[in-house]
């Protein structure tokens, strides 16, 4: 039987956590929720966000600010019903194997938090409250302008009017809002409170490693604008032969790409501000980076080395299919989890890339020159690709990719070097040496 992975990432057994967001509207709660979900899913930790607003919209699609007035009994009832529906769905999801559920709502009163805590604990799920508290008027206004004027609540309305209404909605929340443990009687809660975008942080009663990991990740997030550039190495001698792995030199055309890369990077960056360059420890990425400007800092990471194909290293796909037919088939069935004999699976690569992602989150402009599988994994993190999709994403040679994280997703730009190269993409079941990627999907 082909070897199967039995690693389960960093997930501790039997842990189930509900991350409950807390905070007034326009404090970046959804941004935090979205980032946390992406990070966890990428680590194979089943995570999902339950946005109470979406449930409420079923009932009240375009409410005015009055709806959120605590004296409005009808509004109050509907909002409570929405929260109940969201929590009920989350519980169903936990029963089907969920590990980290994120409840995205304001949860701005003690009473609501108590209700959420009791309701969720009752099902044997731990709760960590994550509060974003911000008093800087400018930041709040920027957030209101950017995000809320595009909110489904205000669809088709005048943006000025929408912003005004939204301000009023926030006022209504402010009337009843209590920050966590403001009265000193919520000290038993597990919570993370981020104040003024990380200027102050309170961490209370972290219960396990996974919680500490989430807290650490959230503390590393920053909101300064930046981009990440990804490129594979130039075409290698083994690429030409259709062989995988190895530590080969660049082909003639690969050299050509290395020479062209500085120009391509300059075009994409748009100025001569220096990037930090991360390569793997293999010859072909180091050679690809060697013509980049001298004032770029270059670092080699073992963690960026190509997926280790174990016994199949240096073989063509045909040779693998001939020698290890069962393995070849098993890999196509579940490419993400298939671990080469004596080598790695995509899942293993993701685990070893985790420190890289943490570094990426806290860094600014980085250019990564690495390998097909590794770039697929990093790309999957930024683009939220599923485990079924990510191992099949075409990442052509001689192409530079620029990823720019935005509030609700990541923007991608592609720069082609116009230097010919073989294709190393392979479709399911195929043993072709060089095959053109299917037109749909991918980069």
């Amino acid at each position: 039987m082909a070897p199967r992975t039995n690693g389960v990432g960093i997930r501790p057994e039997e842990t189930r956590i509900c991350v409950v967001m807390v905070g007034l509207p326009a404090r970046g709660k959804s941004y935090i929720a979205q980032k946390a979900q992406r990070y966890l899913k990428w680590l194979s930790i089943p995570a999902a966000t339950f946005n109470v607003g979406n449930y409420r919209r079923n009932d009240a699609p375009h409410p005015s600010a009055d709806f959120f007035d605590t004296n409005n009994a009808e509004g109050e009832r509907k909002r409570r019903a929405a929260a109940e529906a969201a929590v009920a769905d989350m519980m169903k999801w936990f029963k089907s194997g969920g590990v980290v559920g994120i409840l995205d709502a304001t949860n701005s009163t003690k009473e609501r938090r108590k209700w959420v805590l009791d309701r969720i604990n009752q099902e044997g799920v731990d709760v960590i409250f994550v509060e974003s508290k911000c008093d800087e008027e400018e930041l709040i206004m920027a957030n209101i302008r950017d995000v809320k004027t595009t909110s489904p609540d205000y669809q088709g309305q005048d943006p000025e009017q929408a912003a005004l209404d939204f301000r009023n909605r926030i006022r209504n929340y402010e009337k009843v809002y209590k920050t966590i443990n403001a009265d000193g009687d919520e000290d038993h809660l597990t919570y993370l409170k981020i104040m003024n975008v990380g200027r102050q942080v309170i961490i209370n009663r972290i219960q396990d490693y996974l919680q500490s990991r989430i807290v650490y990740y959230l503390m590393n997030l920053h909101i300064r604008p930046r981009s990440v550039w990804l490129s594979r190495h130039g075409e290698s001698m083994l690429n030409l032969e259709g062989r995988i792995g190895g530590d080969a030199d660049l082909s003639h055309r690969g050299e050509e790409y290395a020479l062209k890369l500085p120009e391509l990077v300059l075009e994409s960056v748009g100025s001569d501000r220096p990037l930090t360059v991360w390569t793997s420890t293999l010859k072909r990425t180091i050679a690809t980076a060697r013509h980049l400007p001298k004032h770029y800092n270059q670092l080699q990471w073992k963690a960026l080395d190509e997926l280790d194909a174990g016994v199949c290293d240096g073989m063509t796909y045909q040779e693998i299919a001939d020698m290890y037919p069962e393995d070849f088939q098993a890999r196509d069935e579940d490419k993400y989890n298939y671990r080469y004999r004596g080598g790695e699976s995509y899942r293993d690569v993701v685990i070893r890339l985790e420190p890289i992602i943490m570094e990426l989150e806290r860094s600014e402009d980085i250019l990564i020159i690495s390998h097909q599988a590794v770039i697929r994994c990093i790309y999957a993190y930024f683009m939220q690709k599923t485990q079924e999709e990510s191992p099949w994403v075409p990442v052509p040679l001689h192409t530079l990719m620029k990823l720019t994280p935005r509030a609700y997703g990541t923007e991608v730009q592609i720069y082609k070097a116009e230097v010919k190269a073989v294709s190393t993409w392979r479709g399911k079941g195929s043993t072709a040496k060089h095959e053109d990627p299917k037109p749909e999907g991918g980069v």
């Binding site: 039995n6 200027r199 102050q200 961490i203 500490s212 650490y216 073992k302 174990g310 806290r362």
Partner: protein, 577 residues
């Protein structure tokens, strides 16, 4: 210059010493070589500093018995592991060195309205300590200086931050704030119990008196609330953290992450090897246990159970409380032989977790090659390897450094774990994890020995950890040193005091010339005669080959390796700043 400074630190701070054995926790050693103490350094620069962060002073804040030493030592351990050059400066060491053996500071030493003579003395001690901090940061390429002192007043802390800033050093304060009486009493009991002052006294009474003494000695203490300073306040040993982040800084986040996983509960870690497998020579084949391997798993499990029970009994016999054994959790890699080695324990109902990060070091091209072949095929690589066996990687292989980086998340979980922990893994993984807990130099890590007939037990203590070795009786001698799954990556010739330096584990004379089935990773050569003895690729007695170690006694029963942790704790009793 450097040696002078080091010598002076050594003279003024008697606990700084050079490492004498890998069985003693090296966390307080003065590194004997520049840059050899960074198992998981992510990247390095010419200066040896992480270039994102400049020079940093971590300044501890907190009254005695708040666990400051434990926090300092743990942080230093973790930061050094990450490749940050870190050193702890305990102000108490300087005070003791100044007042001399058996001397005492004046009664009003810590008072805000102390006499001029006491103020002078205080200033003198502080000055000496700070000079050493600057000396180390400026001339010895240090990056993080951990300044362990009470620092009780806000004005003092502000002045300190200003002074450090003048020297171009960023300051991060870490306060350990405890108002939970149980934790206080526990801390006081643990550290102060051995003091002659409290001899024969009821432990609770001793703890109470000790805490009282602190109050009288240090009457003024202001907890941190300085908005303009970077600080982390750790409340009741990690129950809560308050983090005031003036300047965004990678290291401080990292430290908070680490601290959220730190706890003060007492628990031990055991290391054992996996049993021998059927297909012995291959890294790539994930072979199951052989019959001998299965027998080993059984005996190992029995020995461990017996040992834990004996230790519990020993505590009771010494008048300790009759408490049940702490729960035990087992971690293995995802390799079959480690999983199978855990099976006898799993059958007893212990929880086993498999961690893919704990797979053995990847031998790359060296797999299945004899050392002779490696030398023939990759003479240049062998040369490079000999210069730096820790960081060098053979083609396609992992270096120990790569392995350490991969194991970093495991380190944090190791800190987090509250149960006793048994780690069953390949020797290469044990080396790296052991080096974290015992702070070994990167020069020693590739050569640490974990023979199969020993369970290694690491017992944590605030000032430094202790290592114990428990003999597993009745094993087939062939399997003891053998590492069939190992790689024969050559390591450079040993040092003159090779045997002594490495560890007190001795290789019995009878082990020489074991059958070739028992292969050995670390193939040594005779000191000063490299060419002569290359092909000794498969005996456990390689150190005997080097000639510097001549067999010797193997502990028949459990043997405790003495170190001086106890003496140091005693010394701490008077350490009240």
């Amino acid at each position: 210059m450097d040696t002078l400074l080091t010598a002076e630190i050594a003279a003024n701070a008697p606990r700084y010493r050079r490492k004498s054995s890998t069985f003693i926790d090296g966390i307080h050693d003065v590194p004997s070589e520049v840059g050899n103490l960074a198992p998981a350094q992510l990247y390095s620069t010419m200066s040896g500093r992480l270039f994102h962060s400049g020079r940093i002073a971590i300044v501890m804040v907190g009254l005695p018995a708040r666990g400051k030493t434990h926090i300092c030592v743990s942080m230093a351990r973790y930061l050094s592991w990450l490749g940050v050059k870190t050193r702890i400066f305990h102000l108490g060491d300087y005070r003791r060195a100044t007042v001399g053996q058996g001397g005492h500071v004046p009664q009003d030493y810590f008072y805000p309205n102390a006499s001029p003579a006491s103020v002078m003395l205080r200033q003198k001690i502080l000055k000496k300590c700070r000079e050493d901090i600057y000396g180390w940061l400026n001339h010895e390429n240090g990056q993080v200086a951990i300044y362990d002192a009470v620092n009780p007043t806000a004005s003092g802390r502000r002045a300190l931050a200003k002074e450090f800033a003048k020297h171009d050093v960023q300051t991060l304060f870490i306060e350990s704030f405890v108002d939970d009486q149980e934790i206080l009493k526990e801390n006081a009991r643990n550290v102060k119990i051995s003091s002659p002052d409290f001899h024969g006294m009821d432990p609770d009474e001793a703890a109470k008196r000790y805490l009282k003494r602190i109050e009288t000695k240090i009457p003024v203490f202001e907890t941190m609330a300085e908005e303009e300073l970077n600080y982390v306040k750790m409340i009741n040993a990690g129950q809560a953290f308050f983090y005031n982040n003036v300047s965004f800084n990678y290291l401080s986040h990292r430290i908070v992450f680490y601290l959220t996983n730190l706890h003060i509960k007492h628990r031990t870690t055991f290391f054992v090897r996996a049993g021998t497998a059927t297909e012995e020579d291959s890294y790539k084949a994930d072979a199951p246990l052989s019959a001998e391997g299965e027998a080993y798993a059984q005996v190992m499990a029995e020995t461990l159970m017996r040992h834990r029970e004996q230790e519990r009994q020993a505590i009771i016999d010494q008048g300790g409380p009759d408490v049940p054994l702490r729960p035990l959790t087992i971690w293995t890699s995802t390799r079959l032989r480690t999983i199978q080695t855990a099976e006898p324990l799993e059958k007893l109902g212990y929880k086993v977790r498999h961690r893919s990060q704990m797979s053995q070091i990847n031998p790359g091209v060296c797999e299945k090659l004899s050392e002779r072949a490696i030398r023939n095929l990759y003479p240049e690589e062998v040369e490079k390897h000999e210069l730096d066996p820790y960081h060098h990687r053979y083609p396609r292989a992992e270096s120990y450094h790569d392995l350490a980086v991969r194991l970093e998340p495991i380190i944090l979980e190791l800190e987090r774990e509250q149960n006793d922990l048994l780690i069953i893994a390949h020797e290469s993984v044990l080396r790296v994890l052991y080096s974290y807990l015992m702070h070994c130099s990167t020069r020693d890590i590739p050569k640490l020995k974990f023979p199969r007939d020993e369970i290694i037990e690491i017992i944590p203590a605030a000032y430094q950890n202790e290592a114990k070795r428990i003999h597993i009786p009745g094993l087939d001698p062939r399997m003891i040193p053998g590492s069939p799954e190992d790689i024969r990556i050559p390591v450079p010739p040993g040092f003159d005091d090779f045997g002594k330096r490495l560890s007190p584990i001795s290789i019995p004379a009878m082990m020489m010339g074991t059958p070739p089935s028992a292969t050995e990773v670390t193939v040594g050569f005779a000191t000063g005669d490299r060419k002569g003895s290359i092909s000794v690729s498969n005996t456990g007695g390689l150190r005997s080959v080097s000639g510097s170690f001549s067999g010797g006694e193997r502990p028949v029963t459990e043997k405790i390796v003495n170190n001086t942790a106890k003496e140091m704790v005693e010394d701490k009793v008077e350490d009240e700043d």
